[in-house]
Symmetry: C2
Subunit: 410 residues, 2 copies
Amino acid sequence: MNDKLLKQYGEMAVRAGVNIQPGQTLIINAPITASDLVHHCANAAYDAGAKEVVVHYSDEKLSRIKMERTSQETLCDIKPWIQASYLDYIKSEGRAAILSITGGDPEIYKDIDVKKVNAASLAKMNALSEYRDYTMASRIQWCVIAVPSEGWAKKVFPELSAEEAVEQLWQTIFKVSHVEGDAVQNWKIYAKQRAVRRDKINAMKLKELHFTSSNGTDLHVGLADDRVWGGVSEYNEQGVEFIPNMPTEELFTAPHKDRVNGVVYGTKPYVYNGSLIEDFVLKFKDGKVVDFDAKSGKELLAELLNTDEGSSRIGEVALVPASSPINKENVLFYETLFDENAACHIALGQGYPGTVEGGEKMTTNQLLEKGVNDSVVHEDVMVGSADMKVTGICENGETVLIFENGEWVF
Amino acid sequence: MNDKLLKQYGEMAVRAGVNIQPGQTLIINAPITASDLVHHCANAAYDAGAKEVVVHYSDEKLSRIKMERTSQETLCDIKPWIQASYLDYIKSEGRAAILSITGGDPEIYKDIDVKKVNAASLAKMNALSEYRDYTMASRIQWCVIAVPSEGWAKKVFPELSAEEAVEQLWQTIFKVSHVEGDAVQNWKIYAKQRAVRRDKINAMKLKELHFTSSNGTDLHVGLADDRVWGGVSEYNEQGVEFIPNMPTEELFTAPHKDRVNGVVYGTKPYVYNGSLIEDFVLKFKDGKVVDFDAKSGKELLAELLNTDEGSSRIGEVALVPASSPINKENVLFYETLFDENAACHIALGQGYPGTVEGGEKMTTNQLLEKGVNDSVVHEDVMVGSADMKVTGICENGETVLIFENGEWVF
């Protein structure tokens, strides 16, 4: 893999992604296999005037051993130092920004009891809730990018050798992440272009979306009160612009947690806690999933839906055209960061405070009143298809066509 | 490198080294490049009934970037979570055991301002003092082993390619660490054998050692009151046996912090905080270094000696014969874990509470009264030579020959 492109990728993540500010601390969550990129990111951050770069390394093979061989009780006993390893910086002057590098083996926890895996995951989410609130509400700058692991690359390109698969996946990531050339500048242009359509859809004052497809999907998604549409960049509470996902192709907003009705079919496999859910269907009534099925991973899907009150409702709805550059790669990524940007999707669980007006400053109860869902999970599942039609109903009762045959009509 | 031997090495460290007990947590400090060994250690720990294995990964290339590019003020601002990442486990039921994997590039901080490096190191030592007390006083089980890094291996075998050097260093480590065959059993036998000489030297009731060598060394080391000699294994405060260093060839005890006089010449280069000190000489009066020199690293040595009141006095004196299996490899390791077991040595700085009778339960002041030195540092420097003579003076005034031409006489 080309070290020059890797360096550009790191600079892109640090300067355009988290957009590190002079005097800020950058925290990087990274797999140990991504250390070369971590070094580039660290140098890019110091070049931009960062105060300190702190790296939390993870090791998926160790995580697998731990998940298999540690009791559920111990896995759920999350020690305070783990959240402190973020809050010690976030709460200090100048705040911190978080760069998370994803890209592990999508089936790292395959064949381990899903109840145990989910209990451990849930315990961690709860133990880190104060930290997660900083990112969910965009109080601090954060960004997610990916680095191929062998396990992931082999899943995406099973016909290639491990080495070739990793190389191919790197090329694909570089391409869809606009890394070639001046990556930082590429993203500035890209964010401006996308803002045009975002502003258009905001001006429509949509109160409901209706999704239909030949696969049987027929879903009415009422939107939250005072919803706003977002895409590409956001602003932290001090007004610093950042890009939470790289790549990103979606425009998204808050559904109303009680106003979703109908049936929706999954169009891509979905990785949850290191195992696969494939060919699922969800039936909603008044916002809640009242029936569901899946060709594989049904038990896992049941666990997800039963996590808490909000995990069987949706917190995000996002529009992505079938012509998205990521979808055009014609690759199934088994990684939400990419697959969610290749198809329209909904997210089971928590909504983003930033998707209703003034939401970042609201309490959970105030957000719930607007219709923004609350949960410990936020799991994007792909439902977009090549012939998807999306119709919008505006606040004034008017009906507008938004997607036809999987594409924007405006 | 042979994965079977690597597995045995991990089992040795976990079962004979820290001797993990059922229900205990094992914390492993490891470089990211040692992940294969970490996985073996984790499995060995779970096989032995460990409750959980927690790994703190480090990345020396990142450490170098951080040391170069972070301000001294920020480097010295050690956040509380770092000590908590140990104490959260050590203080919980069942205690924890610590396995540290060393073996980084000995000159990782070469050409960085030594004052900055030392200030950062000192700040970390101070911030982790509560944790370090647990290991220094052997309240918990701990063990240090090594894994070759490229930088280290190339320093030890400069004539080989990086790959060959790493392989050669692995072979050497496996050999001197008794890994071949049943490594755990090897160490049991070895510990018993060594206990015989340890018991003999304890029975001599030595109050002073006198080191002389043709290189000019002429050093009188008065011993602490009620000193005891240790070697190979120790016992934590719950009576669990463990081996703190693998390999280990030394018998060691506490010098009296005020009763060291004369001159001593270094016989091996010494790595301090990622830089080298070579060909040093130390002159002691009433326990304190009153003059010193070094062919290289003199400024660094000055920093070390000036760290605090105790860093210019010694806290440990150790006897290692020239015929030590490690010395017989005829390799300069540039790594204290090995070099200190190839030659007699003294340690500047803190003494081990366990080297005076009942010391583990004494306060710092009580230990100082016995003559056990106190400091934030503990740095072993090698002074043994092929023609070293060591004479002992017993409490009853008798003189006994201990080493002649670098070898035990009994």
